[in-house]
Amino acid sequence: MITILSKPWPWYVSGPAIALILAILLFSGKTFGFSANLSNICSMMGFGKWVEYFKFDWKKQQWNLWFLAGSIIGGYIAAHYLQSPQPISISHSTIADLKKLNIPFDGNIEPGSIFSWSYLLTVRGLLLFLGGGFLIGFGTRYAGGCTSGHAITGLSNLQLQSLIAVIGFFIGGLFTTYLLFPIIFK
């Protein structure tokens, strides 16, 4: 069982597996929206004292924070006990494109040359991680959801507003990939 789970999963297994999470949460009377936790944490830290938006009973959203805690544990378990020894198989054209940006492909889940504290403490690193994180927080709250809430749940419920949000995700992603990356990494 562990051996089978440890192999890289084909996409047609992963997609329905993600829908299973949606099913579990819906049948528990909840929703699948991870970025709501960013507001939950702000509310939990007491920011509701100053900002109306965070003035809500975060304890009612506690289930989602437990879900968040679980996701950290799940990442740990998968990385330590279900890791495939093979390098991930990224398209050769992507490897070539990234090489032009001086980002080597090392076969890991994340490029080790970027995902390190020594890289983080450079101007590029701060822009990528702190800046990127900031835009994720601001953007998902503004759009009222992220990939789980809009791309998975919203599209599954055939909501037009989620389709608009997902189009936005791609406008931002393509802008970054084709216009920002050549500036940042060269």
């Binding site: 992963s14 997609g15 329905p16 829908a19 299973l20 999470i21 949606l22 579990i24 819906l26 009377g29 960013l38 702000c42 879900f67 805690a69 679980g70 996701s71 950290i72 544990i73 799940g74 990442g75 740990y76 378990i77 998968a78 279900l82 991930i88 398209s91 054209s93 992507t94 889940i109 490029p111 390190s116 504290w117 983080l120 990528l128 991680f129 702190l130 990127g132 994180g133 900031f134 835009l135 994720i136 601001f138 953007g139 709250r141 503004y142 759009a143 992220c146 990939t147 749940t153 599209l155 419920n157 909501q159 608009i164 949000a165 936005g168 995700f169 791609f170 931002g172 992603g173 393509l174």
Partner: protein
């Protein structure tokens, strides 16, 4: 005791996100460069499964485990917040290669640099909370 159920669901989510490789910065680049079906296959089959799931729930008026009817958000005619907010998130997604769920999954995998992404995300959330009434909705 309810906490255990959501922790277990979260663990399952963390494992699925890791094994699907949807948490990978490389995979997100591959997606935004349209160089593989991989990420589109994941999102596509997740959404097709989700459409069937929600259609069945609605058709048979299914209830959740506590016996309450399962309800969904209504339609929203606004579009600016979704387009502008979505675009801002998309830039962050491509920069970090992670959306909110994977940020925490990656932290669990041992990528401690994600702490900085989380700090940034909380700051961004806070700023949104402060200026939201001045933004086009």
């Amino acid at each position: 005791m309810k906490a255990i159920k959501y922790i277990l669901t979260g663990i399952l989510f963390g494992i699925i996100m890791t094994k699907s490789e949807a948490v990978s910065w490389y995979r997100i680049q591959e997606m935004f460069r349209f160089q593989s079906i991989f990420m589109y296959g994941i999102i596509g089959t997740a959404v097709i499964s989700g459409i069937i799931l929600i259609a069945v729930i609605k058709r048979f008026h299914l209830s959740d485990m506590d016996g309450n009817p399962i309800q969904f958000l209504g339609k929203d005619k606004r579009w600016k917040k979704y387009l502008i907010g979505g675009t801002i998130f998309g830039i962050g997604w491509a920069l970090t290669g992670a959306c909110p769920g994977p940020i925490f999954v990656l932290l669990g995998q041992g990528y401690t640099v994600m702490l900085m992404v989380i700090a940034g995300a909380l700051a961004g959330t806070f700023l949104y909370g402060v200026i939201r009434n001045r933004l086009p909705q």
